[in-house]
Symmetry: C2
Subunit: 477 residues, 2 copies
Amino acid sequence: MTLYQKLAKRLREHIQHDFYKQGDKLPSVRQLAQEHGVSISTVQEAYRQLEQDQLVEAKPKSGYFVCQRKKDNLPSVSRPPQRPLEVSQWEEVLNMLMNRGSTKGLQLQHAMPDMTSSTLKPLLKTLADLSKHKPELGLSYADIRGSEELRNQLCRLTVASGCQLHPDDLVITSGCQEALSVCIRAVSEPGDIVAIESPSFYGSMQAIKAANLKAMEIPTHPETGISLEALELALDQWPIKAIFVTPTCNNPMGYTMPEDRKEQLYKLAQSYDIAIIEDDVYGDISFQFPRPKTIKSFDTDGRVLLCSSFSKSVAPGLRVGWIAPGRYRDKVTHIKYVSSSMCPVFPQLAIAKFIRQGGYRKHIRQMRQNYEQQRDHLLQVIKAHFPSDTRVSFPDGSFILWVELNPSIDSIKLVERCRKVGVDFAPGPLFSATGKFRNGFRLNYSEQTMEKRENAIKTLAKIIREFHPETIAQKSL
Amino acid sequence: MTLYQKLAKRLREHIQHDFYKQGDKLPSVRQLAQEHGVSISTVQEAYRQLEQDQLVEAKPKSGYFVCQRKKDNLPSVSRPPQRPLEVSQWEEVLNMLMNRGSTKGLQLQHAMPDMTSSTLKPLLKTLADLSKHKPELGLSYADIRGSEELRNQLCRLTVASGCQLHPDDLVITSGCQEALSVCIRAVSEPGDIVAIESPSFYGSMQAIKAANLKAMEIPTHPETGISLEALELALDQWPIKAIFVTPTCNNPMGYTMPEDRKEQLYKLAQSYDIAIIEDDVYGDISFQFPRPKTIKSFDTDGRVLLCSSFSKSVAPGLRVGWIAPGRYRDKVTHIKYVSSSMCPVFPQLAIAKFIRQGGYRKHIRQMRQNYEQQRDHLLQVIKAHFPSDTRVSFPDGSFILWVELNPSIDSIKLVERCRKVGVDFAPGPLFSATGKFRNGFRLNYSEQTMEKRENAIKTLAKIIREFHPETIAQKSL
């Protein structure tokens, strides 16, 4: 056992025996190093180990804290059908998308970031300046792979997630949706099977449908992500062409797959010689610091296609996304070109400057802090108002969480009823290829003030109780 | 024979016997009405007939003129392989796209409009104002079908091409490339066959390739477009799923299919019960006034998917395109959503205002006049400097034309040679699914001043002569 492992073991015991309680601040790195007579880096390695085990968390500029216990009432591990199936649910997705226009009511529905922060001002100023002073730049065709300036900055940015990329390794896209859609088409032929998490983001599932592929939903744990064991069984049984995952701040569950499991997933893909499409769109707003590594960071043979955008960390209206496509670069460039030719230049240049001048780092630091507070608040009001058999995910980042109600409650009926009173959320079946998770739904905690959100949750809770079997049983007495 | 037919016949004879010569102004409508004792509308109908026959052309605010004789040295009717084939040539297209970055040299290569006109000022001002005063509008998600304000204006605009559309009939896209790509995917299943013109736009052919379809190139006439006779034979022989055409200001040839042939094409599609994808991206910069009708204007059963954008009429960097998908609306909405989610809002709002306030009409009127002059100039310098066996198309609109050299000259070698001296153009094989048209190429006449263009053409001519068999024969003497 190495020094850091010994230290980690000792700290773990202290936490497990409640010497340090949930939420407690832990000793500083310097303090521990002195106390145990070890180097700073040994203590850092020990803390890193405990972070991976989700026992402690780092808060920027504050130090290390004992994690809140997450395991109370987490959603259950999913049990999807054990065969590849066509994706359905388009009507339901469209219904939700068409509902975007309505600005009335309390929106808990869309995965929309907070865009009111003053930390966005430098970006908005650059956009306005470009538009005013260099209008001709915004009119022409540009590099099909995207602005070189932005690709340079992305290479710097992705060092934080463990990547070493060259600007030529990147292709800029119109948001993450185009990135995912292009990658799905690049790694498969019509009729192929793609393995996905369950629940999974509806946008990627609909892209699988549009590419004439089948989705194989894999059981997924609300804390550790896609089950590697179930995935391996599926890989043995079916000619799966690619794995599509959102392993960091998962949509809709919010979990982050532990680093060692990310590496195992990569090795599994390697041993079956298939591609991984990694959606990292929420990765930069993880509450962990430094942010978690991507699967791409383990990629030695170019089989991981990393997709992201600034839609969740900054603003979706910018439509700036990107792909690090590894060995699939040529195919990805082709499909990106036919998909929508080149991307508008101004948002790319503005984001590049925002990163270069440090505004982006400042903005996401602020957002992480806000979202973490909002998460704790939402969890608290859910606990206070929802029926006691409700299960809720515990996001490690992002601004969305997943709720699982009593199995007899139908979220599609619930959403229809709630829409009438002006409360909107994303019903569970959107997140399944085959309309499962009828008793689940996704809530957003970025768009409202705490007060408005609390009111929305109270209204929602009241309606949930009407649908709850206990209430129905009482009524029938 | 009706009154207008009689009058048309008489005028036709005058033209054919050179009573009115090429380029001559014809009598005004009022004058002819008085002279022949017929109504104004009878004369208008007669002139419309002659326009269709391409004997006369209307110039805005000037009246009717005898057309320049186009039939001198037009390119030959194409003779593509008589079977469906996979699209190749991606390497060549990519090579050209990657060359976009270079701003040096004389660009005759890209289909880039003139963006220096002062008529664009109101649009640029709106863009700058939106960015400055309503930044929050540019940050959010928006209607998946595109801004309602823009869709409203498009309905007004498309009246000029004979369409009657409702805003709900439209889907906004990221440029015409996304429109074409989405439509191709919406009307076909992998493995299907799509009939196309020959030569044909490389962007649509590459979209056919990416959708795992085969292209059936149909012989195409340099004045009247896709051969309906050859198309019918192909429809009899192969299970063709859709017809993809650019019938108005064709890319790369510049012809406009006569109205009656457009209608016949529609009826052919009807009798074989297949879809037509109509690329109208150059339609608004036709030199005819009023602009030619679209095939969509004949569509009574929703089988025509009309695609366009403001990339050629205004500026490609705006990335504002659109689809009138007819009966394929739901499928098109699905594929557009998975392809790139919603489009950026500012360019949509700015274009909508530009149309509403009359700026767009003014701008394209100006562009039409400019491009027509530039065309005449380019044709003249080509005639003066290129070898006498050169054939050149005669565009009815747009800012591109097609050149066919002596069959022994290879445009790929030519383009490599010319690039070294800073002159760039689009080599012929890009416009064939299978790399035909080696002795053809496309030139743009929008981007340069007349002087620069003339210099570029002189340089090009000199190199062409080096490759010409006559020169080679002389050298070997």
